[in-house]
Symmetry: none
Subunit: 201 residues, 4 copies
DNA sequence: GATGAATGAGACTTCATTCAT
DNA sequence: CATGAATGAAGTCTCATTCAT
């Protein structure tokens, strides 16, 4: 995925880029990757295709920019939620982690799904890895402070397992329907999963 | 997704259909969904496009047939592996479950990934749900026999959580590299996840 | 320039390819390289763009095929004309050579020009070189039989000089108008050029 | 081809126009006609596209200005070189003529080629004809002073033939490689061509 | 039934040119 | 006058699908 073709210098162009990325999000969420044509995105953004290509060298870069933005927001969300429970006991922190993941899906489930589906299609997996590279140390850092209470020998690995477990679990729950995700039973089970995994036998 | 245009009645027809689906698997695994053109599939199958369309009304049905076959095989794999540990204690059964998931990925990782990526693109999510509809009761059945040892109040829900947890976890592990998946540390953690989740605190 | 994508196997497709190349010639002659769009060519050929791309992987290959055909015809023309004067004295052979070049331009001056202009735009200069590789030895062969009468020390070089001299000279003459080319004065001068160059001082 | 939109009145304007034409030369030489976009030319010139269009109504006029400049320089070159041999005997003058043509190619071969290739694409052939209109009388004038030594009955025609012969011959030689052009064998043959053509049998 | 040539809508992308700032 | 963001027609090429043979 190539980088943006040109930096917007004037206020006008910054607004254009913003409109394009926003339109990409809308179109991707509604129609999915293949139906998200550059012409359609441009039309939704209220811009000509030419303008789109002034800032993004190709479709891949366009989606890539959106994926970037999405994971960037996810990072911010995680940083904020985990900071709030930095010194909390494991069950509380587990619940906060699950809440963060759920919140990430709740904001715009369709976009979230579309973004995740787009990742393998983009040449690299870099952005998603970047999210992991951010979230895993964050979680591992919390664990390190609770070292004595925790079972896993390798905290980095444990943090990675949790990320790769909770994200799809919540995602699948969302696909079963909004009611299901918010259900106490589901959240309890997810919490039990995390706590059971981390605690000493 | 429309159903196959007609059922193959004769042996020759059945062989042709089989060749086409097999070619679809090869092409999908190698090139991914969008590059898996119907003409390419036909060529690999040693058949003309026209013949392909004799048996499959459109591309969606073609991929759908492959997805069907794939999940059918997964079902068989799970049925076999779980039957073998029907009366085993939880840690043993957990390990068998994880092994089954890993085996599902190991056989043809690229095809497995391509199939999973194809699911959201097909109109419905039916086949994948069908797999769940099969696997969840199977796992829940095992748990029912071990009811006394287990924590989860709702066994169906617990079985669903395990499926939706292990599949992506192993999948992510595969993407990190074959060595990582086979690594003892990873398998131990996955087992700990399952056992910790199911056992009474 | 890539090679043709597919060999036409059936009579129908051979006719299609022929129609496409012929249309390319017409469009190129009339509109020039950049205006010779693939869609226009297809339309003139009475064929869909898809058919065009079934046989030619891209525009370059399309024009390339025409250029090939053109130089192939030129080769045939030269072979025939020069064979007829294989043992003639220099002035007669010179006149035949000039006639051959003129005939090459006369058949379809606009196409000839368009083809020549297309050569530098195609990645390689191969086809034109191939024409030289054919014509130069032919002329040099004639000279070798007349060695005693001729001045140039290096016959290959002399043949090359003649080719690279007569072709553009006649071409320029054609651009000045049909009457001018056919004018005795011009033909006389061209003959004098060749004879003066080849004869001993 | 339209004329420049306006004449630069002030020194600054003249400098801007000069920069644009110079940039056109650089871009054309490096990228060829189609890749020589107006935006690229403007960027290389250190000017905005808008400014470019202030001075040139369209791309054709832009390239036209460059072609004009190029042939203007060629005219100057020829005038100077031929003046130096105004009274020299034919072989000396012939050699000077060939040198002048070679010098024309040597200065910037890529630009020279690009300019020549651009001529047929521009609506008219005017500038090139203008060069002929200048060079032919110049050469014919020399010949007139040597009338007694020369064979050709029509000196204007002979001069035209020489121009149309030497230019492409040297051009083709350049394409075969710099070493080849400078080679004594080639220069000798070119000289023999001219002298043989002009001298009485 | 099989074949594969043919179709054509539509995707991505470029670039000469305009015009608000 | 200068700037450069914006435009959009038009070009190249792909591929699911059809249909004459």
């Amino acid at each position: 995925m190539e980088r943006p073709r040109k930096r917007p210098r004037q206020a006008r162009s910054r607004a254009t880029v913003e409109a394009i990325v926003e339109a990409t999000a809308r179109v991707l969420a509604q129609h999915g990757y293949e139906k998200a044509t550059t012409n359609r995105v441009a039309k939704v953004a209220g811009v000509s295709v030419g303008s789109l290509y002034q800032y993004f060298p190709n479709k891949e870069a366009l989606i890539g920019a959106l994926v970037d933005r999405h994971f960037e927001r996810m990072r911010a969300l995680f940083a904020e939620r985990l900071a709030a429970v930095a010194d909390a006991p494991v069950p509380v922190a587990a619940r906060a982690l699950i809440d963060a993941v759920m919140e990430g899906h709740r904001r715009n489930p369709q976009l979230h799904q579309a973004v995740l589906e787009s990742v393998p299609r983009l040449g690299v997996q870099a952005q998603r890895d970047a999210f992991d590279a951010f979230a895993v140390p964050l979680i591992a850092g919390y664990m390190a402070r609770r070292r004595a209470d925790l079972r896993p020998p390798d905290l980095e690995l444990a943090a990675w397992v949790l990320m790769r477990t909770l994200q799809p679990l919540v995602h699948a729950a969302v696909l079963r329907g909004p009611a299901f995700v918010e259900d106490t039973a589901f959240v309890d089970e997810a919490t039990a999963l995390v706590v059971g995994y981390l605690s000493r036998g």
